[in-house]
């Protein structure tokens, strides 16, 4: 479901940002042709050896201020320290399961820089004292029908085995094709032999995870940054980004003409450098389907960092940026995504599996150009009823997305109530998954 192809990596770096891209091959580096990054020798030549290891690496990651790039932005050093000091025999997981249909940055990273991720996995394992590691990812085929991503990673792992550089054994686990399969307690449950459903947070995985052992789960991009910090240190990492949100992040950018690309941007980069924000754009979605809509005015004003995005109702999340064309109806788009998010509920927590379908149905009412009765009032009440009442953040993220739509597309709600719609197109711009509801899909 997270298919990627070479054409998507159009402009890996943002123009005018020195030192980027760090993770993906630069255009100059690849001389115009981006090839899958399987060559271990070329990887070593480009990035050199990692000299900062073990507890010194945890110190540098802390000083660097690296946060998780899977969406939650949790400080990485805190998890590393917790697992390193937990005792027992810890486990490390590289999480590449990006369930969002609008995100393909993890797949792009695994395709073009698999050795950076695998370096990071080994370095993290060494730092916390783990000898067991997993790489968790969706199957996702190359859009041109090339080899699938897991085969690509198996090939990269075989090269490293032949070179004899790695100490921790790595097992590749395929994630089921569900939005929530990448949630860290869901992946722990799957590797423990259960369904890939989120669990109640009585124990965090870094306390008790795979096989009951302390488990470090980090997004694959986070591990790639860690692998570079192990080479260049904290000061280098902080040489781009903002003081409170240092470094760079991968973004999946969907322009209003439908073109998609993956780019690496410094935190604090104005969104207007990353997306074309002309008058053909109506609004911008930042942070994906658990993120929020921004008005065009706000999008032109804010930068890629939570310090500016949160007050405007959105988040940086895992770097999804979508420019919604003016020709499409923001309410219809939101209703379609809300429906898919309701279907992606793991079906465990009552407020989520009752509330999200109710919210989606009310949005479907508001998306029609006719008076919607009590739909808006119901929506606001249900939003309050589901927030903070799930084992995972799915209800909260869904409510953030929906609440931002009610605000950003508020004028359109009034237009619909008068029986009209300003959109000129009825097809949907935002991709959604059509989840099959079989129990086996969670395995």
């Amino acid at each position: 479901m997270t298919a990627t192809n070479r054409a998507e990596i159009g402009h890996p770096a943002v123009p005018g940002e020195p030192g980027l891209p760090r993770l993906l091959p630069s255009r100059a580096h690849a001389q115009g042709v981006l090839e899958p990054g399987l060559d271990l020798v070329a990887h070593s030549r480009r990035h050199g050896r990692a000299g900062i290891r073990g507890s010194a690496l945890i110190g540098q990651v802390d000083a660097a201020g690296l946060t998780g790039r899977g969406g939650a932005a949790f400080p990485v050093a805190r998890k590393l320290s917790a697992v390193a000091s937990a005792g027992g025999s810890p486990v490390v997981v590289a999480n590449g399961a990006e369930g969002e249909p609008v995100s393909s940055k993890d797949a792009a990273l695994l395709w073009f820089a698999p050795h950076l991720v695998l370096d990071g996995l080994q370095l993290a394992a060494e730092a916390v004292g783990a000898r067991t590691a997993y790489l968790y990812m969706h199957a996702g085929r190359d859009a041109r029908g090339g080899p699938d991503l897991p085969s690509h990673l198996h090939a990269a792992m075989a090269q490293r085995a032949a070179a004899g550089t790695d100490r921790a054994t790595v097992q590749l686990i395929e994630a089921p094709p569900r939005f929530l399969a990448g949630e860290e307690t869901a992946l722990v449950s799957l590797i423990n032999g259960g369904p890939a459903r989120p669990a109640d947070k009585q124990h965090r995985p870094f306390q008790r995870g795979i096989g009951g052992r302390p488990t470090l789960v980090q997004n694959v991009e986070t591990l790639a940054h860690l692998a570079l910090i192990a080479r260049h240190g904290a000061a280098w990492f902080r040489s781009v980004g903002t003081r409170t949100e240092p470094g760079s992040m991968l973004c999946t950018i969907r322009e209003s003409d439908g073109q998609v690309r993956v780019a690496e941007a410094a935190l604090g980069t104005p969104l207007s450098w990353l997306l074309r924000l002309g008058d053909e754009v109506q609004a911008v979605l930042s942070g994906g389907y658990h993120g929020g809509w921004l008005t065009l005015t706000d999008a032109r004003r804010v930068a890629l960092c939570n310090a500016e995005l949160r007050p405007a109702g959105a988040i940086a999340g895992a770097g999804v940026l979508v420019a919604l064309p003016a020709a499409h109806c923001g309410l219809a788009e939101t209703a379609s995504v809300a429906r898919s998010l309701a279907l992606e509920s793991a079906g465990q927590c009552g407020p989520c599996f009752n509330g999200l379908p109710a919210i989606a149905a009310a949005l479907a009412e508001l998306a029609q150009p006719r008076p919607a009765g009590r739909a808006l009032a119901n929506l606001q009440r249900w939003a309050g009823l589901v927030t903070g009442r799930g084992a995972c953040h799915h209800p909260d993220g869904t409510v953030r997305f929906v609440a931002s739509a009610l605000s950003v597309f508020g004028a359109e709600i009034a237009v619909h109530a008068r029986g009209r719609c300003t959109a000129t197109r009825s097809d949907l711009f935002l991709p959604v998954t059509a989840p099959a509801l079989a129990e086996s899909d969670w395995r």
Binding site: Q202, G350, P351, A391
Partner: protein
């Protein structure tokens, strides 16, 4: 600090909306429109401690627990 910091927590993934907890502790637990508990965001008062323990032991889904006790 004996009972002052004791809180009632629900495992949302385990709760099946039986509603017994709200019958045992109506002063502290209400049910939402789908029958799932809305628990007051406060320490369990000492006078309700016994009923709270009963709610924990009697929950058909074993979804309730007291935190900060002892």
């Amino acid at each position: 600090m004996p009972d002052r910091s004791v809180r009632l927590r629900v495992n949302r993934a385990a709760c099946s909306g039986h509603g017994l907890c709200a019958e045992l502790l109506p002063e502290f637990i209400a049910l939402d429109e789908w029958g799932y508990p809305l628990i007051a965001d406060a320490a369990v008062p000492a006078r309700l401690a016994r009923a709270a323990r009963r709610a924990v032991t009697d929950c058909p889904a074993l979804a309730l627990r007291l935190t900060g006790a002892g």
